[in-house]
């Protein structure tokens, strides 16, 4: 009888202990392909640890809005948030996130690209661990180029690109020399235009935080952009973001496309692209200076301070951004689907390089993206295609709208830039930056 009692008590203890350890965490993430794969493979982690995950999967703009609202009000709705390299340093500085410097040694922080780690850190701490990273480069149709007898140089300039684009435009057959982002948004058309401004020698603000949109580099870059798209771009360019251009390029309508490196995976997927095997890759074009010609973005996982399940959340983070996770993805979905741009080890892996021929280009782009020196002249901010200040979302979108107006001809480039300058100055004054 007493043995039975002892066994029963022991059993109850074991059950309680296990039950106490099983937590449910809520993870908010973007609906990009790599995250969907993570969602599917997370069942492995759930089985290993006995915890459960509630997924909140939303499109990028909605997610950003939702997550920002929650973290700024201390809402506590999420235990893990997917944020970008734009938010991470800002929110880290506000002390809204938990520092993530304390993972065990087998996590191998050094395997992560330094540029990526720096992008997600501020004030000496790492605030988010990278899930995947991207830069930008030039994709072009090797078949169209060889048919026209053109060769892409190792580092093209914008002038050369313009020349190619004009030669390869055939509107009667819906073939357009170049497809570029034109949809208004701080992360849409402004991402591209910012890199152009950088490489034309411009910057957003001088070291006194005065806006520089009325300077010659901005004028030159935007005029070039508008003329190029008008001469050699598809109709409707002012509504085209990443997805629309991807649709155009993969159905064969664009001869060239400058955009995120993640596009390489899509255009090389026979199920989704009609131009498989006909795509070449080159670095993003430069103009007057080589600084900031290609951008940098990373999607990363972070734990808000308001989470009550920080330990479990951190355990998930470690799992999802580890080298083992990358191998797991390769095993279940193939090497080409492995989330790119974070760890050096996969770029040394011959299997990955064989499956993803663009891998070395991507690696080079990410390693050379210098967030600390995005422009030729010194600047008080970090960020290549954005400015890492909280006000940038609104400023960038306003300027993006004006750039779209210049593109459609609603206003001239100079009018648009003048208006942009006024608006940005007003916003910066209101926010208290300009001394």
């Amino acid at each position: 009888m007493r043995t039975w009692l002892r066994l029963a008590t022991a059993a109850v203890f074991v059950i309680c202990a296990n039950a106490a350890r099983a937590e449910t965490i809520t993870i908010a993430t973007v609906n990009n392909n790599d995250m969907i794969v993570m969602q599917q493979l997370a069942s492995h982690w759930e089985q290993q640890t006995g915890n459960k995950i509630n997924w909140v999967v939303l499109e990028e703009n909605v997610l950003r809005q939702r997550v920002t609202t929650d973290i700024a009000t201390g809402g506590g709705q999420f235990d893990v948030m997917t944020i970008g390299s734009y938010e991470a340093p800002i929110w880290g500085k506000q002390k809204w996130l938990l520092p993530l410097d304390d993972f065990p040694k087998n996590y191998d922080y050094d395997d992560i690209f330094k540029s990526v780690r720096d992008a997600l850190s501020s004030e000496g701490h790492l605030w988010a661990v990278p899930f995947y990273a991207e830069s930008s480069f030039l994709m072009y149709r090797t078949d169209l180029f060889s048919k026209a007898g053109l060769t892409m140089p190792a580092q093209p300039t914008w002038t050369e690109v313009e020349g190619f684009a004009r030669k390869l435009t055939d509107r009667a057959h819906q073939q357009y020399g170049i497809c570029l982002r034109g949809k208004p948004g701080w992360g849409e058309n402004m991402a591209l235009i910012d890199t152009m401004v950088n490489t034309f020698g411009g910057r957003w603000f001088n070291d006194k935080w005065q806006p520089q949109l009325n300077t010659p580099p901005w004028h030159d870059a935007v005029t070039f952009y508008v003329n190029l798209l008008r001469a050699a771009g598809p109709p409707g360019a002012s509504s085209n973001g990443f997805n629309e251009n991807l649709a155009l390029f993969s159905t064969g309508h664009c001869a060239m496309w400058i955009d995120a490196t993640v596009a390489a995976g899509f255009v090389s997927d026979p199920k989704k692209s009609q131009v498989v095997g006909k795509v070449g890759f080159a670095p993003a074009p430069i103009a007057k200076v080589p600084n900031g010609n290609h951008w940098f973005w990373a999607w990363a996982l972070a734990v808000p301070k308001s989470s009550h399940k920080a330990a479990v959340a951190k355990s998930f983070l470690q799992w999802a951004t580890s080298a083992d996770y990358l191998k797991l993805v390769a095993q279940t979905n193939g090497w080409v689907v492995v989330p790119p741009g974070t760890r050096k080890s996969i770029y040394d892996n011959p299997q990955y390089l064989a499956a993803a021929p663009f891998a070395k280009q991507v690696e080079h782009a990410i390693e050379t993206a210098d967030l600390a020196h995005p422009t030729a002249q010194p600047v008080p901010y970090t960020g290549i295609q954005y400015v890492a200040i909280p006000e940038f979302q609104a400023i960038g979108t306003t300027v993006g709208q004006l750039m779209a107006a210049a593109l459609t001809g609603q206003s001239t480039v100079d009018q648009a830039l003048a208006q942009a300058q006024t608006q940005v100055k007003s916003a910066m004054d209101q926010a208290g930056y300009t001394q």
Binding site: T398, A405, Q430
Partner: protein, 312 residues
Amino acid sequence: MAVTNGAIAAPPPVRSGRMRTALRGRGGAVPTLPLVGPSVVLLLLWSLVPLAMTLWFSFRRYNLLNPIIHGFAGWNNYRFLFQDPALVSSLIVTVILVAAVLAITVGLGAVLAAVFETGFPGRGIARVLMISPFFVMPTVSALIWKNLLMNPVNGLFAWILRGVGLPAFDWFATAPLASIIMIVSWEWLPFAFLILMTSLQSLDEEIIEAARLDGAGSVAMFRYIQVPHLGRSISVVVMVETIFLLGIFAEIYVTTAGGPGVATTNLAFLIYQRALLAFNVGSASAAGVIAIVLANIVAIFLINTVAKRLDV
């Protein structure tokens, strides 16, 4: 007014106070407070608390992303807002959007209602198809229109235009506001159509017969008989649609993001930019207060003109 066979005669609608008192009858006055009370109290709480907070925030410097900024802002939020050229243009865009969609939905709705009044085979199915757009989420409608239909390269319209030899039309670059008006009208036409059509069905057959005997053609019938009968239901349509059209947001957000320039930024989108892009709660609240003032003006205008027909 025709009388039903047997049953109860319907008295004319109550108009004057004396008639009201006369009709009160021996049942005595009904205590209306406990009946209306719950609605009023609930709406009071619902509107007062956020309204009070909005007013409060509109006078403070409060940026969610930059908690260092705080304190009393005085009239600064309003001042910056009124200096912002985007405010006036957003008001204009709002008014154009509402007026155009109202005109299209009520106008087309009335005409189509009259057309559907004539009997034809399969009328039930055609009616069901007509009202379908109202059930689709605005975000989805806008995405379908923008990418599958209106896209100048990949879209269906472009293909059709190219098929007849015309160049593809870049809807959102050349005519952004008109494109949005088109999408929103497509969404709301079913609502207007349904209400107007059922109202027409109650039009007395004898009056139509008499008009036909007098030699009235379809157009004259429409103009002099059907439209006046629709007066009441048009009022309802206008009131309900105006409420919703003032706050149209999803379609703009998905298609043009307020651009190009500020061509499609209405007041709701402007507030969104302040509130959820800049997280500048102070400025967004000020814009919200302006929106409330505007809405109240519109409401008073509506009540005094349109609602008179409803014998309020």
